[in-house]
Each structure stands twice: as C-alpha cells, then as structure tokens.
C-alpha cells in the first residue's frame, strides 16, 4: 500500500495536476482537497486499493502520473458515494475516480482487468440493444477471460443462474432490446464524435 512515494531523484510531471483539473470530470474541485483522509477512512473497500482516494489525490498533485493512472484504486471503487457525502470540502471523489478509470483506459495505462472487461461487456449490450441483457453481459464478461476461464466461471455460477431461470428473472429467448436501435446508434456515434472534437479544442 505504501510503495510509490515522491522520490526526489525522479522527475515528476508537474503539469499532470493541471491536466487532471482541466480534463477529468470533477477534477476542477480537486484543489479543494485538504488531505483530511475522511474519504479513505470511509471507503468500504479501501484496503483492497493500492492507494486510498486521499493518497491518490496527493499523488496527482505531486505529478505522479504513471503511478496514478496505473493504480487499481479506481477499479476497486464500488460507486457507493460514501466519500462524496462525507467529504468536508465537497470534492466529488467518486466522479473523479470514475473518470480517472476511463482516462487510464483511454491513455493505455490500464491493463485489461475485471472491471474494464465487465465495463466493455456492459457497454456492448447497452450500445447494441439499448438495454442491459444481464445474461449476455455476464456471459460475454466470463468469456472475455478466454474459453477455459469462461466455462469455469460459468460453472461456478450455475446454481445462481439456475435460481434466476427458475424464478423467471433470467430469460432464455431473444435479448431485450429497444425499438429504435438505429436512432440510439446514431446518437452514441455523434456523442463520441463531439467528445473527440471537444477534447482537441
């Protein structure tokens, strides 16, 4: 947990903090952080993070770009918003972590991990059908680890799946989907295009 600490013999990217302030959703509020540690102390899953949110925010200020963007902090965040409601300085901690996760993928820092694989499977369903088909998202996610691991994860969860099927909470027919899939596709493509345009300006 304590591994990367600022090291005077290394060069840090001091423009990184500014980049985060300007480009990460909620990042403009990061300057308000007073390092009290309430966020990390409140986090239900903090012990599984490389660095709690407080420390990660200090590392951002210190310009530790590589360590921040390759940390597993944002991938463990469950989006429970406890840090957000407790932060005495109203820093939108969860939103910042969520967008850092997206940015770490975009910039090629995040190695494929469970969360990024799951997110991709999820988005695939939302984009393709307009709805989350829990069954297909889960299957696609399991098999994103390869066939052997996919089958293993499937078998591990067979009892759960059977319970869901018996109670009618998992259907076996066509995916649920919206009617205007073409419209949604056009909206999402346009939104991606605008985002690209804005990030360059």
């Amino acid at each position: 947990m304590t591994k990367p600490a600022p090291n005077t013999s290394e060069k840090y990217d001091l423009g990184f903090a500014n980049w985060v302030y300007e480009n990460v959703n909620g990042g403009d509020k990061l300057g308000l952080c007073m390092q009290c540690g309430v966020c990390s102390g409140s986090c239900p899953i903090g012990e599984q993070m490389d660095h709690g949110p407080r420390k990660l925010f200090m590392m951002i200020r210190a310009g530790m770009k590589d360590e921040v963007l390759s940390s597993n902090t944002m991938w463990n965040c469950t989006s429970c918003y406890r840090c957000v409601v407790r932060c005495p300085r109203s820093v939108p901690v969860t939103y910042i972590l969520q967008d850092l996760a997206a940015k770490s993928v975009e910039l090629g820092y995040a190695k494929p991990n469970e969360n990024s694989k799951f997110s991709n499977s999820f988005w695939w369903s939302a984009k393709t059908f307009g709805r989350t088909d829990e069954r297909l998202v889960t299957a696609k996610y399991y098999f994103s680890f390869g066939v052997v691991e996919g089958v293993k994860r499937g078998l591990d969860n067979l009892k759960i799946a059977w319970g869901m099927i018996k109670t009618g909470r998992m259907h076996l027919t066509m995916p649920h989907q919206i009617k205007d899939k073409a419209g949604l596709k056009a909206i999402l493509a346009k939104a991606a295009e605008i985002e690209e345009r804005e990030s360059k300006s």
């Binding site: 969360n115 999820f122 709805r131 869901m164 419209g183 999402l188 939104a191």
Partner: protein, 301 residues
C-alpha cells in the same frame, strides 16, 4: 393526496431481468397509493456505474439524454424510477444537463442525430422519495388491510438510493444519507416490526460484487450476519442490485466462512403488496425470490 398523481415511469433494465419482482410489485401497489405510472416510450439503459468506461462520458450521458427526451414526450410530470442506479444516473445526468448550457448543447447535438431534443426541465425522482413526500406514510398505513404482524424486517437501504442525493433539495430532502429511516417506517406502516439494524447503508459491492465476488463477499457477509443476529425474518431493500447480490451470494458466503445463512431478501414493495391484501404471486411476486419467505407467503392472500 387523494387525487391520482401521474408520473412518467422509468423501469430500467433490471425490471426485465433480475429485479422483475421490484417492477411487478411497484406496478401492483401504485394504484393503491394513487400513483399512475406511464412508461417512458422505448426507454434505454442508464449506463449504470460502468457505462462511462466502455463508452466515454458524453456517450454515457447521452443515454440519459435520450431517456429524458423520450420522457418529455409524455409531458412535464416528474419522472420516477424504482432502481437505485437508474435514479442516480438519470437524476445526476438531468441536473448536469439543466445546470450547464454547454453540456445541454452537446447532449442535444448528439440527440439531433436521431431528430430528438431535450429542452424541458423535468424532475427525476426515486420511488421511495415519492412515497415519503407525495404519498405520505399515512396513506400507506391507511391502505394496509393485511398487516404483517410478527414479521421482523431488517431495513437495508444500500448506497445509491440515498447517496449522494437524499440530503439535497434536488433529491427531495426526504431522509438522511447516513441514517435513513424511511425503510423502517415503510415496514412499520405495513404492520411489521423493524429490527435495530446497523449496516443500513453499507455497501454490498455493487457491480464489483458481480464481476469479482471474492473482493466483496465480506461486505455482504456483514449485511446478512447483522440481520440474522438482530432476529430478522427478512431483509428488505429498495435496490435491485442489493437485492440480487445479498440474495445470490449467501451460498458463496456459507462456503467461504462456514456459516449457514439463508435469509430472504425482499423489496419493500413486495411487503407493501402483501400488506395491501394484494395477490402474493401476481402482485407481490413472492415466487421470484430464490430464497423464499415462508412466513410472508403464509401471510399473503
């Protein structure tokens, strides 16, 4: 409120899958509460807590934009959803769009690709907040014809129903985010007994529990264990993901920790349906729980 109040209803993806019983029981109790629900036509996914990673911020927000544009076609009445994640995303997205002209312009530019536009200032609300603020507990009490006498309920609120918006004007100021009482009040209004329960707003692991149960089983264990120790017959929750996670992982917890948990996890709306004297299967959807509550089923009509 004695006249019917109309809402535009956003069921969310889980309403067609894992949380079918939330949707069924909400639709069943709505008339008793004088609520009329009219679905958003052709609604889409809200993006949940991971959409921005796979899709990016603006595409993810455009999912909400499309839902709001579709909701606007129904009129200016408030939008309501029973799902915690749908509420969080749609409410947060709506506020962002309403408060930032640039964001609204970008979302509308994206929506224009399908000839759609969101130019209203709708309100997005959570069903529990509507029940507290618009319907009122008195009305709930008044509708109870089949009190759940003797049923002990652990009110497990979870995170996203109350965090981060419960204590804000936009979130309806209906309760606090750290010690909410509305769920206990619902249970008691139905004639049940709300037990002392500490992990009310503890996190079940959310989508991390779905993708990597090993990282979060200890969180769910506390939620279950405290309910059992408090003598609860059932855990009640408003959140689709909490309901599924806390129900489906009890076996895995038993295996990992050598425990023997087997406690039903119900939606508050299922309890209300039973207490209102509605049908146990068709309305309360009690058959949809993988861990069933015999005690509640015996009480049901």
């Amino acid at each position: 409120m004695s006249e019917k109040k109309k809402f535009t209803y956003y069921p969310g993806c889980s309403s067609q899958g894992s949380a079918l019983h939330l949707d069924e029981s909400l639709r069943a109790i709505a008339p008793s509460l004088d609520i009329e629900l009219e679905d958003i036509e052709d609604w889409n996914c809200c993006g949940a807590s991971v959409g921005h990673i796979g899709g990016g911020q603006l595409p993810n927000l455009s999912l909400t934009g499309r839902n709001l544009a579709k909701a606007q076609e129904r009129g200016k009445q408030d939008v309501v959803t029973g799902c915690a994640a749908c509420y969080l995303n749609t409410h947060a997205g709506n506020e962002k769009i309403k408060n930032d002209v640039n964001v609204r312009a970008q979302v509308n530019e994206a929506l224009s690709a399908a000839d759609m536009e969101y130019d209203e200032d709708l309100q997005v609300r959570h069903m529990c907040e509507v029940i507290v603020n618009d319907v009122g507990l008195d009305k709930v009490r008044e509708k109870v014809t089949n009190p759940l006498t003797g049923l002990k309920v652990a009110g497990y609120v979870g995170c996203q129903t109350v965090r981060p918006f419960a204590g804000t004007d936009g979130g309806g100021n209906y309760d606090t985010y750290d010690n909410p009482e509305f769920l206990d009040n619902f249970a008691e209004a139905c004639g049940a007994e709300a037990v002392e329960y500490n992990p009310k707003t503890s996190c079940c692991g959310g989508s991390v529990a779905v993708m990597s149960p090993d990282r979060t089983l200890h969180l769910i264990k506390t939620i279950v264990e405290d309910a059992v120790e408090a003598g609860a017959d059932v855990i009640a929750t408003p959140c689709p993901l909490c309901q599924t996670n806390v129900e489906m992982y009890q076996d895995a917890i038993n295996k990992k920790y050598g425990t023997d948990f087997h406690i039903p996890v119900m939606f508050y709306s299922q309890l209300m349906a039973v207490a209102f004297g509605l049908d146990g299967e068709k309305d309360a959807a009690l058959h949809r729980n993988t861990i069933r509550s015999e005690k509640l089923e015996k009480m049901a009509k």
